[in-house]
């Protein structure tokens, strides 16, 4: 056989995993030790004294090492296997089981939460965790088209999110159009702005492109702040109409969802509806991305990322290729933006700062550029992690009432960034899945290639 390696499943190298876990622990200690382990407080005489918080430090390091070992065992392990059998078609076993499992989990999540916590307690969990994370997954997947596939570094992605949000807010308030009409319209408007950004930056790449897109994001935000007649400036827009279920609103009136279906009114219905709405939008993004990768345009994006000059000499129009990448990515941000406006009922330029672009980009980069799974893991870890810190009230019992875990968000964020870039410089999932496979029984001798579907 051409490929003996694939037959013997590579066994786990426990020694290596232990060594890496040790290094992880040391790095975590070095980074976190001074920040977490030591704290200065004022005593009764207003003197600064140094206190130690070794238990917290130990707990955090244990968590980090645990995550590291988990990844070594279950996630990165896979990438190593693939490298070894690179020449042949690899059966992506994990993906085959992970995808249905993950989808099932997403669909059942609100039900589980409801069953466990009841209607009152679960809003927070479905909204702050479910919806919030899904918004970022969707934004990550949208930006992934621009950055991960086409290789165009975009630091102003949040501008298109803003365009979508303001499109919905203004058109819904001023013209009374429904969410379902405005959702596609917001996508179209955002992709239109994607093309507007695309034109001036056609000749730019890398750093220069990043700077111009950054400026573009700021320009949109500054316009929203300063053009008060149009966007109501800093004050933002409130009272944005909420989405309806094919005309049935989620309110306490006689025509509301609860009344129509003979249920007792509760805000939980709207939350669950919004959850499934953003889930559908996010899955649409993923589905389109997967499909496009197998179509000429998606392949052209990836080729563009690799070598622009070669693309041109193969007859690919790099101008339209870039513009479609910007437009497609922007469209999904537009969808997400109009969803965001409809969910919040209130938007202001505050929500569309550079920090948001940076967060979305961080999700794409940490996840591994181009990888849909990587975006999911990174979004769950970053967004979910942030939200989770708010919930860690029990830490107050350990460290006293003054302890506020959310203050450590940025610190942990930075530490996570540094750590991931040290261990996985190309992101959590850096293996790129090929889109083309040889069919067997071609004139090519079958022994060269393992089975695959074309």
């Amino acid at each position: 056989m051409a490929n003996p390696v694939s037959a013997a499943a590579p066994s786990l190298d426990y020694g290596r995993i232990a060594r890496e876990a040790l290094v992880t622990g040391l790095v975590a200690t070095a980074i976190l030790g001074p920040f977490i382990g030591l704290i200065t407080v004022q005593n009764m005489d207003h003197q600064l004294i140094l206190e130690t918080r070794w238990p917290l430090l130990a707990a955090l390091i244990a968590v980090i090492v645990g995550v590291r070992v988990f990844f070594s065992l279950f996630v990165w392990n896979r990438a190593v296997k693939i490298k070894k059998v690179a020449p042949a078609r690899v059966p992506f076993k994990i993906e085959r089981f992970a995808a249905p499992f993950f989808l099932g989990l997403l669909f059942c999540y609100p039900i589980f939460v409801l069953a466990g916590l009841g209607a009152g307690g679960s809003i927070k969990w479905i909204d702050n965790f479910g919806i919030q994370i899904l918004i970022y997954i969707m934004l990550g997947w949208g930006l992934n088209i621009v950055v991960g596939l086409a290789g165009l570094l975009d630091l102003g992605y949040v501008a298109f999110y803003a365009v979508g949000a303001y499109s919905y807010a203004l058109l819904a308030k001023n013209f009374g159009l429904s969410f379902w009409v405005l959702l596609p319209l917001a996508g179209i408007l955002a992709s239109f702005w994607g093309i507007i950004l695309g034109f001036p930056v056609l000749r730019l790449r890398g750093d220069y492109l990043a700077i111009v897109t950054l400026a573009f994001g700021e320009i949109i935000r500054l316009i929203l702040i300063n053009w008060v007649d149009f966007s109501n400036g800093y004050a933002g827009i409130s009272g944005i109409p909420r989405p309806t279920l094919f005309g049935i609103p989620f309110n306490a009136t006689d025509k509301g969802f609860a009344a129509v279906f003979g249920l007792e009114f509760s805000p939980i219905y709207r939350t669950i509806f919004l959850y499934y709405l953003i889930l559908a939008l996010a899955l649409l993004t993923a589905w389109v991305t997967v499909r496009l990768r197998h179509l000429p345009i998606g392949r052209a994006w990836e080729a563009l990322r690799e070598d622009e000059i070669a693309c041109r000499s193969l007859g690919i129009n790099t101008t339209t290729t870039k513009l479609t990448a910007f437009a497609t990515g922007a469209m999904f941000a537009g969808f997400a933006g109009s969803f965001f406006a409809a969910r919040q009922g209130f938007i202001s330029p505050e929500s569309f700062t550079f920090m948001e672009s940076a967060n979305i980009l961080a999700i794409v980069v940490l996840g591994g550029m181009g990888s849909l799974w990587g975006v999911v893991i990174a979004a769950v870890a970053l967004v979910g992690g942030f939200e989770l810190m708010r919930e860690m009230d029990f830490l107050k019992m350990v460290f006293g009432q003054d302890f506020d875990p959310t203050q450590y968000r940025t610190l942990l964020f930075g530490a996570a960034m540094v750590a991931i870039m040290l261990w996985k410089p190309r992101g959590l999932i850096s293996t790129r899945e090929p889109t083309a496979f040889l069919k067997v029984s071609k004139s090519v001798s079958g022994s060269h290639v393992s089975e695959g579907h074309g």
Partner: protein, 241 residues
């Protein structure tokens, strides 16, 4: 004599203010193999890229199959069925061999991909063994084969090859030159070849040109150039065997 497939007349190409081609005239007829030799920095690659419109000629005219392509954008030139294996190969490193070959068929939206795949695989069996390997991990010679194979996937009428033998073992060079000869003989493909390996390239060619400092200084049949004293002294000394 019929119209040449490719006509280059008085072409001057600049990089900024520096002139790289100082007025080049050259013809390639349909079904010919034409070789261009010249020292490093003579402007051979520049000519090849100028034919492809990147950079564009500042003066002069380039006509291909009766169409003036001097000011045409690169991707439109490629769609006229001129394919190129450029200097430095420029394959897509993270994409697999198969995906690289697909990109070669991009102008027809992969319509005849499967058919042509068999053809390039029989030309370069090595590539079929490596079909699912990432382009960047191929050896230099395999990358060169891939670059040529990718160019062939667009079903070109004319093939431009910039130093296909660069860095390859003599046996692989022979393989590649055999493949070129075979393409020319069986399909009548027109080939314009830039080479440092002057002896083999001129032996392969119907006609040849010598470029010095951005100007064509000699032309003739492959045999004539091989026999010429000047060519022997400048490009073949010690190389002929």
């Amino acid at each position: 004599m019929t119209e040449p497939l490719l006509t280059v007349r008085g072409v001057k190409t600049y990089y900024g203010n520096i002139i790289a081609l100082k007025g080049v005239d050259l013809d390639v007829h349909e079904g010919e193999i034409v070789t261009m030799i010249g020292a490093n920095g003579a402007g051979k690659s520049t000519l090849m890229m100028t034919i492809f419109g990147a950079p564009q000629a500042r003066e002069g005219r380039i006509v291909y199959a009766g169409t003036d392509i001097t000011r045409m954008p690169t991707h439109m030139i490629a769609r006229m069925r001129i394919a190129q294996s450029p200097e430095g190969r420029r394959i897509f490193p993270r994409m697999t061999v198969l995906e690289n070959l697909q990109m070669g068929a991009a102008i027809d939206e992969f319509a005849h991909f499967d058919e042509d795949l068999n053809q390039v695989f029989s030309l370069f069996p090595r590539l079929s063994e490596r079909a699912h390997q990432r382009g960047g991990t191929l050896s230099g010679g395999e990358q060169q084969m891939l670059a040529i194979a990718r160019a062939l996937m667009s079903r070109p009428k004319m093939l431009l090859l910039d130093e296909p033998s660069l860095g390859l073992a003599p046996l692989v060079v022979k393989q590649i030159f055999d493949a070129i000869r075979e393409l020319n003989r069986s399909q009548g493909m027109t080939v314009f070849l830039v080479e440092q390996n002057a002896f083999h390239a001129l032996k392969l060619a119907h006609r040849g040109y010598v470029m010095v400092n951005g100007l064509i200084t000699m032309s003739g049949t492959g045999k004539e150039l091989l026999a010429s004293e000047e060519v022997r002294a400048a490009y073949l000394e010690g190389g002929a065997h």
